[in-house]
Every structure is written in C-alpha cells, then in structure tokens.
C-alpha cells in the first residue's frame, strides 16, 4: 500500500461547536480521500466547514468522531515530521522580525536551515528578505506564510483561503508561486470561496455545504454547473417535465408553483424559443450561483449535468464521481 498511500484520508468526520445560539455542526459526516499529486480546491460559502476541516487535518482541533489520516499518520505526527504544512488566513507572524529572520527561525524548528534561500526565491520574496514583516504588504505577508510552509518540503501543502484581502495583482503573484510549486508534484489542498480560483488552479474541486461534501468532481464539471442559468416562466399551456426537458439546451427542470424553472447553459436561445414559439410569459433569467449549483447537484432528481470526467489513472476513483 505504500505507493498507493493517500495524502489525505478523512472518514465520517464530525465536529460541533457550542455557541450561545446553540450547537453548530461545523463538520457533519465528511468523507474525503486525496491522492498524492492532486491539487484539490475546497470550495464553499462561509460557514460551510472549510476552516474547521483544515483545523482537523492539521491537528489544531480534534474531531468529535471520525478519523483523520495525513499521509498515513496522525495529524500531530505528520506536523512533527514536516510532511504537512499550511498557509493560514491571517496572523501568525511576528511584526518585529524581518522576512529572513522569520524564515531562519522557522527553519531551525524543522532543522532545514538550507531551505531558507530557495523558499525566499520560490515565494518571490528575495527582494524583501531584509524587510520587517510589519512593513510588508498583505500580499508579501501571505507569500511569507507560503515560504514558511515550504521550509519542511512537505508532501501535502494546505492553504486556507490564502488570498483573502489581497488585491488583484497580489492574488495573481501568489497563485503564480503556488502554481509553480504544484507543477513539481506536491499535493495541494486549498480552501476558497472564489469559484474562479478553484477553477483556475485546481484539478479537482470538492464542494462543501453544511459540513458535508455535496459534490466532488473536476473543475470542468463544476464550472458547467455553476456557469449555468435558470430561465423561469409561467406557461399558459400545461407541459410535462419530459416535454420541457426535450427543449434544446435544457439540462434540468424544476417547478415552483405555476412557474417552471429550466436549467440551461444556453439561456438566450432558450428564452428566444420560449417567447416566440410558446405562450410563456413573465420570463426571468437568473444566473446560477454557487449555492444554486450545490442544490442542483444534490437534489434527488438532478439530471447528470456535466459530461463524465476524462478518465485518467487517478480520477477514475475520485474525480469522476458527482456525489
């Protein structure tokens, strides 16, 4: 099993928090298997359980039930062995140290002082090495966190919403550094609530909602769903779902009272068709947000909305399944 060892193996994870408003089930029966070399995006709205799951993976929190294995180890062992490292959202830096001092200090914990120079280069911080952390831009601080995470040369790199609060240029520079790193074959799991980031940088997207995995597929599959639109209208003549589904470009049909909702990726053509050849009226076109995409993916009668994933050696068991 050694060559087949999973980078990340989460089973039946549960984690609840007590708040004044009651118990919050942050992670509620989450299963996930990540193979070595995958670049996985954890996509979901705020409160979906992304950060809690990452805390469980890193051993910063302990699950109420379920198991976490990181490269076959307990999280704390994986951390102690330097096999997993993480870029957290905010904080965690001493403002009065320079960039280089922060790296040298952290490298001393890993016993890898030689890794400081290469980490500076790969994070694009060579010019800022002598600068105090407190006077670095948000983007530079985030690239410093990335450089710190590179020091142990981890097998698994975890990033928790790494570009929150960064401007467009900073975000681009940051992802360029990550992409260069991913190209070397490192396993990467990043949380984000930007669909574009997941789309551009991950080869597998895991959608989280209410602490569960609600969809798991390739970027192409998720994009197809999330880029769709809903054309809804009131029909003056009754039509069956099958008749509606047979209209060109219709992926999926739902009914809300006297309105029909047609999911499509060719909304203009469908709207033109409905208005010119049928008695449909009160027509509305709305874009399908991520939340809507989740619902479409998880509703029991959801039609297969995306083409099957191209079969590769690793996607056969993971990326192809839309749960």
């Amino acid at each position: 099993m050694t060559t087949d060892e999973l980078a990340l193996d989460l089973r039946e994870l549960h984690k609840s928090f007590r708040t004044p408003a009651g118990t919050v089930r942050a992670v509620d029966g989450l299963d996930l298997a990540v193979r070595p070399g995958e670049v996985v995006a954890f996509l979901g709205p705020n409160g979906a359980g992304k950060t809690t799951t990452i805390d469980l993976v890193l051993g910063l929190a302990t699950p109420d039930s379920g198991t976490v294995r990181v490269l076959g180890h307990e999280p704390s062992d994986a951390i102690a062995h330097g096999r997993v490292s993480a870029v957290m959202q905010t904080g965690g830096l001493l403002k009065d140290l320079t960039v280089r001092e922060t790296l040298e200090l952290t490298a001393s914990f890993y016993g890898t002082p030689w890794a400081v120079g290469p980490a500076l280069e790969r994070a694009g911080l060579a010019d800022a090495a002598g600068r105090r952390v407190g006077s670095c831009s948000g983007g530079q601080q985030q690239r410093l966190r990335f450089a710190l995470a590179l020091l142990p040369d981890p097998d698994l790199l975890i990033l928790d919403e790494p570009t929150t609060g960064m401007d467009v240029a900073g975000r681009r520079d940051f992802w360029n550094a990550i992409r260069a790193d991913a190209a070397q074959g490192r396993t990467i799991l990043f949380a984000t609530h930007y669909l574009e980031e997941a789309d551009a940088y991950a080869d597998r997207i895991v959608l989280l909602s209410h602490g569960k995995v609600v969809a798991d597929g390739t970027a192409a599959q998720v994009r197809a769903v999330a880029s769709g639109r809903v054309v809804s209208a009131v029909l003056d003549a009754p039509a069956t779902d099958d008749e509606l589904a047979a209209l060109p470009g219709v992926d999926h049909v739902e009914r809300r009272g006297d309105r029909v909702q047609l999911h499509t990726r060719t909304s203009d053509e469908l709207a033109r068709l409905l208005l010119t050849t049928t008695g449909a009226h009160d027509l509305e076109i709305t874009s399908l947000g991520l939340e809507q995409a989740f619902l479409t993916l998880t509703s029991d009668d959801a039609a297969p909305v995306a083409p099957p994933a191209p079969a590769t050696d690793r996607s056969a068991s993971t990326a192809g399944s839309l749960r």
Binding site: L58, G82, E101, T106, F109, D203, D313
Partner: protein, 261 residues
C-alpha cells in the same frame, strides 16, 4: 501535474525536536534588544532612578546593616528592573497568542514546552541584564555593601522576579493589547511606591497597606541580606500569596486559551 509521482523521498528522519532552541532564544533576545520600550524600561530606567533617588551625599555615609543607603536604593532598583523585564516577558506570551504566533508554531515541530522555556529564559536573561546594569552603576556611584549582601540580594531580585513573569502573563490575558506594557509599566511603578520598593514606608496606615501590595514581599526578601535582618513573616506570606494568585490566574487563562486554539 496529475500523473507525476511526488518528488519527496519515501523515508524521512524526524528527530524529536529539542527543548533547547538556540536559534529561537537568540531571536527572542534580538527582539527584546530591538524593542526600544523594553530597553528603556529594563536597562535605562532602573539605573536612572537609582541615580536620581540613591546618590545624595548623605546616603553615601548613612549605613544600613551590611552597607550604606545608596546600596539599599541600588538593590531596590535592581529588583524593580528585573520585575519590569519578567513582566514584559510574560505579557509578551499572551500578546503572541492573540496574534496567532502560537498557532503558527503549532504547525511546526516545535514543542510547546520549548516555546515556554525559551520565553522564560529570554525574560530571565533580560532580568539578569537589568540587575547587573543597575548594580554596576550603583557600585561605581557610591554604593557600599558586603560581597555576600550584593550577591545574595542580586540573586534574590533576579530569581524572585520570576513571580512577575506570571503577573505579566496573567495581565497580558486580562488586557490583551500590543502596548499592554504602556499600562503595566506605570502600574508597576505605582506598586513599587505603594509597596515600599522605591521609598521605605515606616509605620502608619500606608505601612499596613504596603503589606498587601505585590511588590512588598519581594522587596523585603531582596533587601534582607543587606539589612542583615530576617525578613518579617508578612514578606513570605505576600510573595507566596501573590505568586499563587498570578500563577493560578495565568494558568486558568492559558488553559482556556489553549482549548480554543
């Protein structure tokens, strides 16, 4: 990137990291030395206060126990500086927790005990520096005392100041702000006055109040070798009592904080 194997070697050596972290200790000392406020509080203010309060010519000739009054002020200011150093060190821990540094450290192989040890040692190094600087200035400015009184007094000031590391840690949690020392500095000065550290308090209601001030006990113990008299029992009660309050308070806050992190 989907089909390439990971480039990482299959076998890794992972020695259990040492409690003794010289690079971290060096970095901490550099941070302290770089912090102008810390340097002023611990290395400049105590000897300056000594020069202001302890060097009147009358003090040089007035003798107390095994030395002169100038030495009495010197030993008191040495303790004051050590207290400032350890308080700042303790407060630094809670500030670092609030800033997420402790969380960042938990993502490295560094052991929590090594973190605490490094912070304690660096605070004690600065406390020792403060004691040494104040005593050096004192000895060249007219303080006379027996070697035994000097060594014992300096040692008690240094080791006893560790109680205030717990005070700083506790206060750092109660008042979590980056500039918490701007509050704790004046608070310590007030306590030093009220507890008879700056000026001895003889008799009256203030002397009674002084016995309940956290600086009182350590001041009495530190000056005992110079005075050549056994400290009164209230000094021990004071140090143990406040020590317990600070340690329990800090430990409770610390545990609650750790559970959350």
């Amino acid at each position: 990137m989907t089909t390439t194997a990971t480039t990482t070697p299959a076998v890794r050596t992972a020695p259990r990291t040492s409690l003794w972290q010289p690079v971290y200790l060096r970095t901490e000392l550099r941070r302290l030395a770089r912090n102008r406020r810390t340097v002023i509080f611990t290395l400049v203010m105590p000897p300056v206060f000594f020069l202001l309060f302890g060097t009147q010519s009358a003090y040089g000739t007035q003798s107390v126990g095994n030395g002169n009054v100038t030495a009495y002020v010197m030993i008191s200011m040495a303790l004051y500086g050590a207290m400032l150093a350890t308080t700042a060190g303790g407060a630094g821990v809670s500030i670092e927790r609030a800033q997420g540094w402790s969380r960042q450290l938990r993502l490295t192989p560094l052991r929590p005990a090594a973190y605490v040890l490094t912070k304690v040692v660096s605070a004690l190094v600065f406390a020792l520096a403060s004691v040494v600087v104040t005593c050096a200035v004192g000895l060249v400015s007219g303080a006379h005392l027996s070697t035994r009184a000097l060594v014992l007094g300096a040692l008690i000031a240094w080791v006893g100041s560790a109680v205030f590391a717990a005070f700083g840690l506790f206060m750092g949690y109660v008042l979590p702000a980056e500039n918490v020392m701007q509050i704790l500095g004046p608070v310590l000065a007030l306590m030093a006055f009220a507890g008879g550290l700056f000026v001895p308090i003889d008799g009256g209601v203030f002397a009674t109040i002084a016995k309940f001030i956290p600086t009182y006990g350590l001041a009495e113990l530190t000056r005992a070798p110079l005075l050549g008299t056994a400290p009164n029992v209230w000094a021990y009660v004071n140090v143990l009592g406040w020590g317990l309050v600070f340690v329990v308070g800090a430990a409770r806050r610390f545990r609650r904080d750790t559970a959350r992190v």
